[in-house]
Symmetry: C2
């Protein structure tokens, strides 16, 4: 088999160590920094590269790291990617996503254990699971955003073959699989790439230090590395889409940026294979261009997370107003109404948190609603809280039901965070398993310092390195059958089924979403075609004027609700949501 | 009159010092960092602001700095902007620009002295003069890219009233006036802005250090400051366009960038006043989006300098191959042909100089050619050479004539650098007049170090601080009447007249520019409608096969040339250009 590595930093030699034997590699005559050698190897063979007589390092394009990021790479045979289940795919329009962290979805924390729980996910009615990052990182447990081997699967999760099995299990249940991939930084721990080539650049700075090199000298191969990794997930493992972490941190001044190139490549692969592949950006920019098609001057990503909708919903539900919630909290119901109809709250408005004007308007008349993901909770919005508490920790079930209604009947493509569907009582906290004691201490202290600035005592902040922190974050499925969880789960199921049954609910026309609300009385209602959704977020019953001729038939309701009276007034109990139809 | 200043850095107080008297200013109750006071003042009144008891600083929005950037500001009355000459304006399509540095265009180095020489510029036939930067900078002489008061005119040039007189003089001769403005950095010397507010940010880095703050906290007012300055030039002084220095260095991650906002504001001002205002970017990005209209996802700038055309032409003429010329020099005639038809040489091709793939293709079928400026020489391309030597220092007149033909009959909007039209023998060197001895030494040493790296001896690099360096760079009009200068000047005049007379020469259709060339024989020919242009860049006569039915009538020719023979072969003397027509 042919071993190849891009190692322009090597001055004199690159040696392949394969199952204990050393073999000199030959530089590519083109002088492009590639080195290669033919050597006999089998699946499971351990190998690595030594540059200029240095230590043996794992392959940057390693497909398996059996001993973790610091160990040797392993050869993976084609059977590791062999899927048994043919699947036509499911497109993003009409999708409902389910964000899932393999390490805490089950106590075992493996892909196989997660696959064994997919029946319940399928029964919930969602269309895709969105897996949090799977690339190898130091230690056994972690969120996964510190991955280093962008072509491999974390071995404690089961490695590449387990991912193939998981994809099969999902497809068997008509569930698509989306993977969260991190291109904006690597490591810090176990990151050997800088020893191979100019993977990073000081030209730009990011929250994680030196930026991934997308536009400085040598960046062509770095872009090819990232592109290749992204396409490998879709092609080799049969994944159906990717979630791109923090695309705003991909500093790239080129005329043709990495993101645009990536979206073009993914569209091409989709066209070639007849699969509805898609890319979902996490973006802090409130920039419609992120999801605008390439021919119209956009980056051509297929969707993006809409944190503005989350922030409006979160402040409307909780009354919280710290940090980036400040602008939303001034009139949260109005903010919620704005994000339901105009997507971005910050569409050229002043952002106190950023100290400047932020965002620009989405063209509602031309932009399909499904390009924006809407959610009440995500790994970030839960896990980045001091104690990783979910909404269910503080809100009454009725408000959780309202949140579900707003997410699942609104114009956004809905996304849930695992366990949300039954109001899981387990928190989802920040946990790490750094093997480097220095880094472990820095992470623990950094976390405490961060929240001390917001008035938290150190002892109230869970220790990320304590194994109990991860264990505490594992879902407890035994509570699903208890009240109020069972009732909430039935409500989620009913709403998701409604979304599938009622085409009005996946109407892409943002301009057709007519909203009315009362900030003081804390109710909000909006139209989706023949349907009318009403939520009462207050702690008292409210009379909501829907107008004469308002829809009368109750399709779904959290509490017993009477149809609107002849003048069109709907009396809604406290913390209650209802879906009415005129059809 | 009302004095206002944005000074969010002031904690306690801002004091207006006006003609020696101190007056306390009041902070705006909105808490936005603005301070104001009403005070009696007249044109010429000197004033400045003291923050928190500190030294009196010039006004960031000063319209006049009689004693230079470090002195007090002066009140300017409305009569300083009163123009006598009404002018309808001239649009960019069909324009021929003439880049002019006020400090060396005449030995006096003032706007009034420059205005006195405008008859010759008008007689040349160009449509616009493009003035190098006019904002105040330390000392008397300099290129002007180290300006600090972005709302004022360098006093040694004559100050604001002199600019008004210059604009009148130009408009009187049917010449538009474009100004080179620098938004990407200020100073370094005499830059007091950081004492007032967050004008700069460490979030991004530029070749000049901290970036102008376009997207970090507090940036709204910084953008307003830059926008206001740009609009003031167009509105108050009646300028017809702006050249935006190095827009690639404007780090701006916002969804609505400064450049897009600027182009929208300028279009609005143009629409409101009925004037064909335009913006011309200097950009290193080879990105069509720079000049793509805003509704199509672009920045909406009206044109950009096309350095790729320059580099192709320069290497074809000189054979130079160092630095960024390397990729062009491999096949310079082919590179020239590519830029004549496809604008960017680097349109997704590998740039050795940058160590990566660069640029993206211009859509030739939809992009009017006039959006790209073409030139054989500019202040940068001459002045950034070790000795500031023009093409005329090394090339025979015939090659200068070929360069002129390629610029003035090609699809680009042509631009000349002052003196080019007669092949001026005066160099145009890098000169400064820093008053800070530390900075003066750093600039001198930096310049020598830069060129030492390319094998230049220190004594061969002109001292930027030596007054003789600037004097050497002043045009010498006495040589215009001598040969070969007079003949070249007549050739430039003839070509510019031809461009005005022949609509084919300003045809915006890039796709219609059909080019043929022979790299080894060093000739190139291209079609513009009924016209055919042919140049022979070699030092021997060439037989150029134009094809049967090729245009026969010689419209203009550098040497005596016979029409093509019956088989369509044109015999062209060495270093010669000809324009043929079939009409």
């Amino acid at each position: 088999m042919r071993f190849e590595v891009w190692a322009p930093k090597a001055q004199e030699s690159v040696v392949l160590r394969l199952d204990g034997e050393d073999m000199a590699m030959r530089p590519d005559p083109a002088g492009d920094g590639w080195w290669a050698v033919e050597a006999p190897a089998a699946a499971g063979s351990r190998y690595g590269y030594a540059l200029d007589g240095g230590p043996v390092l794992p392959d940057p394009r390693s497909r398996r790291q059996p001993e973790g990021p610091d160990g040797l790479s392993a050869v993976v045979g084609p059977d590791a990617y062999e899927r048994r289940v043919p699947w036509a795919g499911r497109a993003l329009p009409g999708a409902v996503l389910y964000e899932l962290h393999v390490g805490t979805f089950t106590r075992e924390g493996t892909l196989d254990a997660a696959a064994a729980q997919l029946d319940a996910v399928a029964e919930l009615g969602v269309t895709h699971v969105e897996l949090m990052p799977l690339c190898p990182f130091p230690g056994r447990h972690g969120w996964g955003y510190e991955g280093v081997s962008l072509w491999a699967v974390h071995e404690p999760y089961g490695g590449p073959a387990a991912l193939t099995r998981f994809v099969d299990a999902a497809h068997e249940r008509d569930l698509g699989v989306v993977l969260d991939v991190v291109h904006n930084h690597l490591g810090p721990s176990g990151n050997y790439l800088p020893q191979f080539g100019p993977y990073f650049t000081d030209t730009h700075h990011t929250p994680w230090g030196a930026a991934v090199n997308l536009d400085a000298p040598g960046s062509d191969e770095v872009c090819a590395f990232l592109l290749g990794s992204a396409l490998a997930w879709l092609r080799d493992f049969g994944l159906d889409g990717l979630r791109l972490d923090a695309v705003h941190a991909l500093a790239d001044t080129r005329a043709l940026t990495f993101l645009e190139e990536l979206s073009a490549e993914v569209d091409l692969l989709g066209a070639e294979t007849g699969r509805p592949l898609f890319l979902i950006a996490e973006s802090d920019l409130c920039d419609p261009r992120t999801t605008t098609p390439r021919p119209l001057g956009g980056l051509g990503l297929h969707a993006q997370w809409n944190d503005d909708f989350h922030h409006a919903l979160h402040t409307a539900l909780t009354g919280e107003s710290q940090g980036y919630y400040e602008d939303f909290a001034r009139a949260p119901i109005a903010a919620l109404a704005k994000t339901l109809t105009r997507v971005f709250f910050h569409d050229g408005t002043y952002s106190t948190f950023r100290g400047r004007t932020h965002g620009r308007p989405v063209d509602r008349t031309r932009t399909p609603a499904h390009r924006f993901l809407g959610y009440a909770q995500t790994h970030d919005q839960i896990g980045n809280r001091a104690q990783g508490d979910r909404l269910s920790a503080t809100l009454p079930p009725g408000l959780l039901a309202c949140a579900a209604a707003l997410v699942l009947t609104g114009p956004h493509t809905p996304m849930l965070f695992m366990g949300e569907e039954w109001g899981a009582t387990t928190p989802w906290q920040f946990f790490t398993d750094h093997t480097d004691p220095e880094l472990a201490r820095a992470v623990r202290d950094g976390r405490r310092r961060e929240f001390a600035a917001h008035g938290w005592a150190a002892e109230d902040i869970p220790d990320p390195q304590d194994p109990a922190t991860r264990e505490r974050s594992c879902l407890d499925r035994s509570e699903r059958d208890e009240e109020p969880h069972a009732r909430l789960l039935a409500w989620y199921r009913a709403l998701i089924a409604l979304r599938a049954d009622q085409p009005d609910l996946s109407d892409p026309d943002l301009a057709a979403v007519a909203v009315a609300f009362d900030e003081a009385e804390r109710w909000l209602t909006f139209r989706r075609g023949e349907l009318r959704i009403a939520v009462n977020l207050s702690d008292a019953p409210r009379d909501i004027p829907l107008g004469r001729g308002a829809p009368h038939r109750v399709l779904a309701s959290w509490e017993e609700v009477s149809p609107p009276d002849p003048t069109g007034v709907l009396r809604l109990p406290a913390s209650c949501a209802v879906i009415l139809t005129g059809a």
